[in-house]
Symmetry: C2
Subunit: 275 residues, 2 copies
Amino acid sequence: MEKEYKSEEEFLKDYDSSKFDKLSATADILIFSVSSSKQENYRKLNNKHFSVLLVKRNRYPFKDMWCLPGGFIKLDETSEEAAKRILERETNLKHIYLEQLYTFDDINRDPRMRIISISYVALVDKNRLDDALYENASWFNMTIDENENKIKVNLDNGEENFDIVIKKTLKEMTTDRYKYTIEKNDRIAFDHPLTIVSGISRIKNKLEYTDIAFNLMPEYFTLGELQQVYEVILGKELLDPAFRRIIASKVEKTDKKRVDGGHRPSNLYRYKRNK
Amino acid sequence: MEKEYKSEEEFLKDYDSSKFDKLSATADILIFSVSSSKQENYRKLNNKHFSVLLVKRNRYPFKDMWCLPGGFIKLDETSEEAAKRILERETNLKHIYLEQLYTFDDINRDPRMRIISISYVALVDKNRLDDALYENASWFNMTIDENENKIKVNLDNGEENFDIVIKKTLKEMTTDRYKYTIEKNDRIAFDHPLTIVSGISRIKNKLEYTDIAFNLMPEYFTLGELQQVYEVILGKELLDPAFRRIIASKVEKTDKKRVDGGHRPSNLYRYKRNK
DNA sequence: TGAATAGTGTCTGTGAGACAATATTAT
DNA sequence: ATAATATTGTCTCACAGACACTATTCA
């Protein structure tokens, strides 16, 4: 039998918050960037890679495995604030592109207790980072190989190299939507392989119909560099003229040039907001 | 000073889960559908509306206001399972299109305590519903009016009629992404106006590049009806030939016909998965 | 017969894909 | 001179927007 209250104030004064189940929540962040590796041939451009920042766990659970930077959400901060706090801790940067991705909450995703993970995607321009990373953190280049049924992501930080494989199964009641399950993974903690794959998929999609790519770029860039960023994320080559046509309205030419090697120098452009 | 553990088992046996902050979580569901209202003129088609199911709160907090169907997530169920449980309670239906929308977690979004809301969008075909709704629930037709800075949604269930107004402000560091803040709302509880607007926006977007619309349709439908569904959700009229071209590959003609009023009968179609 | 919806034909402009051609640099 | 990238020109084809036209029903 429930007591009758006359006002919200009266109700709240009486409220016993302990009668409902409670759980812990973490904010986990996919910090994506594009890295370039030097080429042997002085004429050639640097190779670019789509990369993600992972942290080596130095404590249980999943000790010695890699995981996404993350941390418990405090009672006096939102998940986004927690994400920003962690982002600053890992990269020393504020004002970074950040967007909520998905909330993962399988019952046994953490062996300790019920912990849900509110995941975020951050995009950073690696040029803004000093090389000094937070302890145990490392950039992994990703090579993505996707077909109808599976997504394979190879992760390589120069020292360790391993694959994660995710199985896609069509959800009933709909098309175009998949349920992801981990098929192979022995180096990444928790359900973070799912987070990685979801994040890649989100960024791939948004790349085509938004301007998020510019968050991965420095202030001045060449159209070739920009195109390479699109290419490594989309995982396919684009035709120069088509790319330039599409991108034309989003950039403005500057009077600077980049002299790069044994080939024609290129103009530097800057991001221009539309309208 | 942290104790050294030799194995994960040992660590877990010792683990004290009380040392981290805990909070409650609810699953809140936007149940969308398309309703049709009868026309006076026997020749005309029924008017269609994009509609959402709201529940009148009969207890504090926000007593007597409308809110989304929802409930606390139990420790032994995922948020999706909770959403399905609530969906079945409200509509008596299983196997409904359901997708996670966003996790809202402003610190003071609930006056009782820290409660985060993991929101879901469900799409139902109203024809599958018996009219007997769960207690206090009611379908509200939505009329959406959006410009660069604001989104106004008029809600009407035949008895009550009111507006919510949401202000859009561009997030820094990006284009195309907005922060939503409630500018006007006096009939809807919690931050649910934000949830409603986010859900509308998600469905509008997905309508154009996925097949979700068919989740709002009965098994057999006319192309005119399907077009109307697109029109009421997108909030604009479409040209018949263009619509039929686009949709052609997703439907198959059946030998049934719908005889409707003082005009030419139309063929009934069925959803056909692509390839 | 007329009002209403159902369904089709076709012109036009835009824009992506494809490929060729030209420009410029360091060694 | 050559290998490499930078940049532009242009043809074609697919397709969306626009609008006109025909078909069919019931009161």
